[in-house]
């Protein structure tokens, strides 16, 4: 009796609140399920990683002992220093190149703009190891234009910076393009009317208008480079960086505790850059007012030609890098027998798992695209469109953004600690394809989530209100209205996930098993064993597959757009 007595006031208290409908419960249920997934796939592994850094090999707590040992190793300071040097040089050069390239695409009347934009995005289709391998064929001891380095060696900082520039160029360029597209033509008119010179306009209008884009591009480049280990693995030579240190500790010495320590050191700059970037991006959105007029460039022969020349040169270099890898993969025995053949494509005779790796990669990419797209889009939908439950939704929003701050190597290592823990009931997933899918979906969750959110934000909330007032359940609206309207974004997300799952090395390198070897990891292992040409061949298989999927994507987008997007045109 006492039980009901205490329950009664509580129940009456609830009744006053807005009634939570059955639909809301379903939405919250799904939202919770996805939040639970992210908790298991990122929060808990990270917690295990952090705690591992404070333990010795037998798992007893040792406080800061690992850190003391690590920081007392002189090699560490060189690695940190080297990582920073590489990252700053790369960021500086890439910013200038990407800025100029994007400037040419948006502010000049040069021809072939869409072609150049397409070429600039080509490196996205490669694992970062591939441009590095290609550079060996250009500038290695047996490279075709080695003398252009004036006696400097490609194995070391110069090579790493060159490789990283190609690897991050498309990312920086895309951010610049978006930032430039947002500028307001009225400012330029005002500047011209006031008699300012072109140069002055550039420094007083263009650059300040771009500053958030520049900062954002800097942080993205910084994070990508400091956490990438594909390029330094191939071109590092004796030059150690933090990312290769993690790999050496874990794969080379199986010293997981030290690996955890190095990866925590690696996490610091990545997280800092991430928060700085979020801060800056928030301001960028507020800059553009509704009355802004898009800038339309006027033809100017000299300037257009100069821009064409620059973009042509950059485009040529990117295609040359790809072409060289393609060519080298067919050469029988570089540099002594330049006849062509398919010898390097006999993957079953090399390290890395053979052709099975390639098909495993396709399996992984397909699963990642399907499972990831469904989950990420539904998750974004519920975060954006569900009612009430504010705390839950903000928590979810945070979980969705978090993966971006975690470098792949760190994520992969965290998975070892979490999923290979003897007491983990999810341990059966370890060394299987599903764990690779979970890891890859999580690794690339944020960008896909933000794409979905952007698409959903463009939809008027009235759709939901009207359906609700007509007593149409939310999932019907979701299926009949939301999904068809968002088809382009959904396709973008699935392609993004597919391509990244094909090319990624960093997280999965710690998680593959003899049954689930991957093409991108095979590139790494073959290069490690000195089989450079076969590594290039496997890299080309990845590029060709990713390019094929991109092609299918653009055809699909076009045909689906005709069917579902006609309403966008008047």
């Amino acid at each position: 009796m006492t039980g009901t007595a205490t329950l009664a006031p509580a129940l009456s208290g609830l009744a006053v609140k807005e009634k939570v409908s059955r639909e809301d419960w379903i939405m919250r249920g799904i939202l919770l399920a996805i939040a639970l997934f992210l908790t298991v796939s990122i929060l808990l592994p990270l917690y295990f990683l952090m705690s591992k850094g404070f333990q010795d090999k037998d798992g007893t707590f040792t406080g800061l002992a690992n850190f003391t040992e690590f920081f007392s190793t002189p090699a560490l300071f060189y690695s940190i220093q080297n990582s920073l040097v590489i990252t700053l040089w790369t960021s500086g050069i890439v910013l200038i190149l990407a800025f100029t390239f994007a400037y040419g695409l948006t502010r000049s009347c040069m021809p072939f703009k869409s072609l150049f934009k397409g070429i600039a995005l080509v490196p996205i289709l490669m694992p970062s190891l591939l441009p590095a391998i290609s550079l060996v064929y250009f500038f290695g001891k047996q490279g075709v234009i080695t003398s252009w380095l004036f006696g400097y060696e490609i194995y070391g900082p110069i090579g790493i910076v060159m490789g990283e520039i190609i690897y991050v160029f498309p990312h920086a360029m895309t951010i610049m393009l978006i930032a430039m597209a947002m500028s307001d033509a009225r400012l330029y008119e005002a500047s011209e009317a006031l008699g300012a010179s072109k140069l002055k306009t550039f420094f007083t209008v263009t650059l300040p208008g771009m500053r958030y884009g520049l900062v954002s591009a800097f942080f993205v480049t910084f994070t990508l480079v400091i956490t990438d280990f594909g390029v330094p693995k191939v071109l590092g030579g004796k030059y150690n960086v933090l990312a290769t240190d993690v790999y050496k500790q874990v794969v080379g010495r199986q010293d997981f505790e030290m690996g955890a320590v190095v990866s925590m050191v690696l996490l610091v700059p990545a997280v800092l850059a991430f928060f700085a970037d979020r801060l800056v991006q928030r301001k960028q959105v507020a800059m553009l007012s509704t009355r802004a007029v898009p800038y339309v460039p006027k033809p100017s022969r000299g300037f257009d030609m100069a821009m064409l020349g620059f973009c042509g040169l950059v485009g040529f270099i990117i295609l040359a890098i790809l072409g060289m890898a393609f060519f080298a993969s067919f050469v029988k025995f570089w540099p002594y027998d330049l006849t062509l053949g398919l010898k390097n494509y006999q993957f079953d005779l090399m390290d890395g798992g053979g052709w099975a790796s390639y098909f495993n990669s396709i399996e992984l990419a397909s699963w990642t695209a399907v499972v990831g797209t469904v989950m990420i889009f539904i998750g974004a939908y519920l975060v954006e469109k569900s009612n009430g439950f504010q705390a839950g939704r903000s928590a979810m929003q945070f979980l969705c953004i978090m993966p971006m701050a975690v470098p792949g190597l760190v994520l992969g290592l965290a998975y070892i600690f979490f999923f290979n823990h003897p007491d983990n009931p999810l341990g059966f997933l370890y060394h299987t394809m599903p764990i690779l899918v979970i890891c890859t979906v999580t690794h690339f969750y944020t960008v896909a989530h933000l794409t979905a959110v952007t698409a959903l934000k463009q939809m008027d909330p009235e759709f939901e209100s009207v359906s609700a007032s007509l007593k149409v359940p939310f999932y019907k609206t979701f299926r009949r209205v939301t999904v068809p309207v968002c088809v382009p974004a959904i396709l973008d997300i699935s392609m993004y996930l597919f391509v990244n799952a094909m090319t990624t090395v960093s997280a999965v390198v710690f998680l593959y098993s003899p049954d689930t070897t991957l093409a991108s990891v095979a590139v790494l292992n073959m290069d490690d064993a000195g089989d450079t040409a076969p590594a290039a061949a496997m890299g080309m298989m990845i590029v060709i597959t990713a390019a094929g999927v991109r092609l299918i994507h653009s055809l699909l987008t076009r045909s689906l757009a005709r069917r579902t997007q006609a309403w966008r045109k008047r």
Partner: protein, 347 residues
């Protein structure tokens, strides 16, 4: 409408989980034997085919990496071993693991035909059994040597001469078994202090240290670095494949180690592991070993191998495996502190 949607959703989810689960388990018709190995990747398919031809109920699953990596991996899994049998790993590593109680003894059928030097004499039945020896060699690219005017080195000492500065590449002994047998042989030949002095001088000439033991020869073969410290099989193979290289056995003597096997203590597939062990000491297996390696565990089998350096067998050092196994960790740690951070400008 709602129930239909939910049903669809449930079906898709269940289907997805099912397929994911199936992918994880796979078919179980034969006995899967998980074999950890450091044998070169291009030989694995051959061994698998030959063995499974004789024992069709067993399916070999290779996990391959360089010797040092495999050894660390086995060490890391000590409390929960995953492998059924370790096969084709350096005897030095197996001894170290044997001392940790990693293996179970087994005398394969026909072991009495093997030379006494080639299997565990400390335990009876033996815990590890050798298959064949791999021997250090230097790969020397004659085309590139002509370009840089490098003389043909004939001894280890030659490699420390200033003329070779930046032109020598060797495997990192922490990850590569070949790298370690070089270091171990130098210590046994020169004495430890002199060996460190030798390596200090060699370090000046080294362009970089590679992860794998075969990479230096592959890189020498393709002219990336003219002089690669590697092993005879890889050199002979590259030369037969048309690379312009000489394979050299330095005059002071060459290090070597035994590719050996050992059955893991708690294997769930003991019968299959013993089948592989029996097969591995058979004359048939020995003949396959001899296709690429000049020294095998069963006397009277080996025939000379094409493109092996002449006189290399006489130059093989008296290798004290027990000493190497005992001192390995100490030597490797010292090596890492001295040379691994080559970016360190003071060294």
């Amino acid at each position: 409408m709602r129930s239909k949607f939910l049903k669809q959703l449930a079906a898709i989810t269940a289907g997805g989980l099912l397929v994911l689960g199936l992918g994880a388990s796979g078919a179980q018709a034969k006995t899967d034997l998980l074999v950890y190995t450091a044998i070169e990747a291009d030989e694995l398919a051959k061994f698998k085919k030959a063995f499974e031809g004789d024992y069709p109920d067993v399916n070999i699953k290779w996990v391959r990496d360089s010797t040092g990596i495999m050894t660390s991996k086995l060490m890391a899994e000590k409390n929960n071993p995953k492998a059924d049998i370790v096969w084709g790993l350096a005897a030095t590593s197996l001894m170290k693991l044997s001392n940790e109680g990693y293996f179970q003894g087994y005398a394969p059928k026909g072991i009495e035909k093997l030379g006494k030097l080639y299997y565990d004499q400390k335990n009876n039945p033996p815990q590890w059994v050798g298959q064949r020896a791999w021997i250090a060699s230097v790969c020397f690219n004659t085309v590139e040597a002509g370009k840089y005017k490098l003389p043909l080195p004939t001894s280890w000492a030659d490699l420390t001469k200033p003329v070779y500065k930046g032109h020598v590449i060797m495997p990192n002994p922490n990850s590569s078994g070949t790298g370690f047998l070089d270091v171990s042989s130098w210590m046994q030949l020169m004495g430890e202090d002199n060996a460190w002095k030798f390596m200090d001088a060699l370090h000046v000439n080294i362009s970089r240290y590679t992860h794998s033991g075969s990479a230096p020869c592959k890189l020498a073969a393709s002219g990336e670095v003219p002089v690669g410290i590697s092993f005879a099989y890889r050199g002979a193979k590259s030369k037969s494949g048309g690379a312009p290289i000489e394979v050299i056995a330095p005059s002071e003597g060459v290090g070597w180690d035994l590719e050996s096997f050992a059955i893991v203590k708690n294997t769930k597939n003991l019968a299959a592991a013993r089948m592989l062990a029996d097969w591995s000491v058979s004359a048939k297996a020995m003949k396959i070993y001899n296709e690429e390696y000049a020294v095998v565990a069963m006397p009277g089998i080996a025939k000379p191998v094409k493109n092996f350096p002449p006189g290399i067998l006489e130059k093989m050092i008296q290798n004290d495996f027990a000493w190497a196994a005992k001192n390995q960790d100490r030597i490797l740690n010292k090596w890492r502190d001295k040379y691994d951070a080559k970016s360190d400008p003071k060294k």
